[in-house]
Amino acid sequence: MITLALQQQTLLGALLLGPGSLAARDAQAQLEGLVLSPSARGLAAYRANGHALAERALAAAYPVVAAMVGPDCLNALARTLWHGHPSQHGDIARWGGELPALLALEAQLAEFPYLADVARVEWALHRAAGAPDANADPPSFALLTQQDPGAVTLRLAPGTAVIRSAWPVASLVNAHLRGEPTLSEAADRLRDREAEQALVWRRALRAEVRPCEAGEAALVDALLNRQGLVPALDAALAADPGFDFSAWLAQAVGDGLVLGACPHDHHATAIHP
């Protein structure tokens, strides 16, 4: 009698290894000797279930890519990803993060070079949607005037991320998800190859994305790297000498991007001591 671990490895291999691959065929042949009824129909049922789950999961995480490539292409991508990068956890919402890399490599999609960056933005939105909740703390902004600026930093909204692209990715995503800008305006920006830095964050329960300028992108990146406010501001000014911190802060607090201020732990900084 073979061990349970080997039985389970054989069935997982027959289901998840690349369809038609030698390894998958070997696993299926071995499985045939381990089960009572012929395995082909049962395996087909499990495979179909896995593929349907992968297709739904990918469409849920990447609605804009899905709209751009169409359902047949998305489903084919889902099946490729399912076998190439099987889920490692029992929460299917965590699966699918490798789609941007797959899109970048997919020769048939080479004429749509912006798809991978759109997918990166969508994955950031997907992750932001489930990021830990955090509440705004307006009184904490008093720290900005009460404390040595070198000892303060800012708390950002759940799921905040910056994605730099040579394409107008924030416009493309928002045109599909929100209708603002219009699809026609986004298409114009795409034709003009307008590069955008996409800023992703969660406002209350809704994940948002908008284009941002170089100064803001540098500032947010620095804050995400756990830098204090002073080096973060230095980074913003290096990227954009005209960066207006006060105007930015007012807007960012209103948008729910910045939740509050807090003392900065210098030891937590990776770059600046």
């Binding site: 061990t3 671990a5 490895q9 289901l15 049962g42 499990y46 956890h89 029992g90 489930g130 759940p158």
Partner: protein, 332 residues
């Protein structure tokens, strides 16, 4: 009821709590309509994200109904053990939601794809069958015990619909589940549709036993006082296989088996599951009403209301003024 009529000490044996699987298409409708249900059930993994809208909506649902947390990914039968990350997320969710029941399946999904020591583990994201062997029973018991110790409560383990049958078997499925509950103290979640789907597929594979007879024998072999929840759902005949797709109404044969189950197990909380082509909420509520009606027509088989069945719950409905889930294990 006049003043001379004593209040029943126990809820009538054939008046089970009835709930529905609460899925995304009905998040808004259920919160708005607040239909008369005894509990709602969700798939635990859909709420593993530590924050955001999904968890917020579940908290709203929990404020109105007791919640049964039903897992589909714990992979209790895996030889490689339970994923510590998965168990951490489940423990956190249990802490937040205070569910009326926690359950998962006698199945596996997690394991290695090859024998390379360096290769990682994958999760097949399905409810894959485990053989009914002593070795698999030992693994399942160890994993169930680990989960129960972490959650500090018994869980309920559900029987599968399986599209493959392992050649190795030391026990029948009811014997396997009976041993599991005896050794771990876990409860059982009996999915009546799964039993029927398995019996139909058994016949397609050449079995000669009448499917309904096989199912009744299965139900009769399960320890009645360990059954914590019953699941009912629809399935689809594909000609060469029957698939448990949860995509249609409960069929007449499964209603018949449900009455048999209630007659044998007593008024066990009953769930209507619908996961494919989810219809309007009213259809699920109608199925729930049918479950109540079917339970009342169940044959009377005296079963001592012991263990998890001895709720002693008064006949009021908990959704009316509910802040805390009624325990399944109230003192008699």
């Amino acid at each position: 009821m006049n003043a001379a009529t004593p209040m029943p000490a126990f809820r009538p044996l054939r008046d089970p709590d009835v709930g529905i699987g609460w899925r995304h298409p009905h998040y808004g409708a259920l919160l708005e309509q607040r239909p008369a249900l005894d509990f709602i059930e969700v798939h635990s993994e859909n709420f593993f994200a530590p924050g955001g809208a999904a968890l917020a909506v579940l908290r709203e649902g929990r404020a109105l109904y007791p919640v049964s947390l039903h897992g589909v990914g714990l992979s209790l039968g895996s030889a490689c053990g339970v994923d510590a990350w998965h168990l951490d997320q489940l423990a956190r969710l249990v802490e937040v939601i205070d569910p009326v029941r926690v359950s998962d399946h006698a199945s596996f999904a997690r394991g290695a794809l090859d024998t390379n020591p360096g290769s990682g583990l994958v999760h097949g994201a399905d409810l894959l069958p485990i053989p009914f062997t002593r070795e698999a029973l030992d693994v399942l018991c160890a994993n169930v015990q680990q989960v129960q110790e972490r959650l500090r409560r018994p869980i309920a383990v559900e029987n599968l619909s399986a599209y493959l049958r392992w050649r190795d078997a030391d026990l029948t499925e009811p014997e396997f589940l009976t041993e599991l509950t005896r050794r771990t103290g876990c409860q059982l979640l009996v999915d009546v549709n799964n039993i029927f789907v398995n019996a139909l597929n058994e016949r397609l594979w050449g079995g000669s036993t009448d499917p309904l007879d096989a199912c009744r024998a299965w139900l009769d072999a399960i320890p009645a006082d360990r059954v914590a929840e019953i699941h009912l759902a629809g399935h689809i005949h594909c000609g060469d296989i029957v698939i448990d797709d949860h995509g249609s109404r409960v069929c007449p044969e499964v209603w018949s088996l449900y009455r048999h189950a209630i007659g044998r197990f007593g008024a066990v909380p009953t769930l209507i599951e619908w996961d494919t082509d989810v219809p309007p909420l009213a259809v699920l509520l109608d199925e729930a009403a049918r479950a109540r009606s079917a339970a009342q027509r169940a044959p009377h088989t005296p079963v001592a209301p012991t263990g998890p069945l001895a709720t002693g719950a008064a006949p009021d409905r908990p959704w009316q003024n509910h802040t805390a889930a009624p325990s399944m294990e109230l003192a008699p």
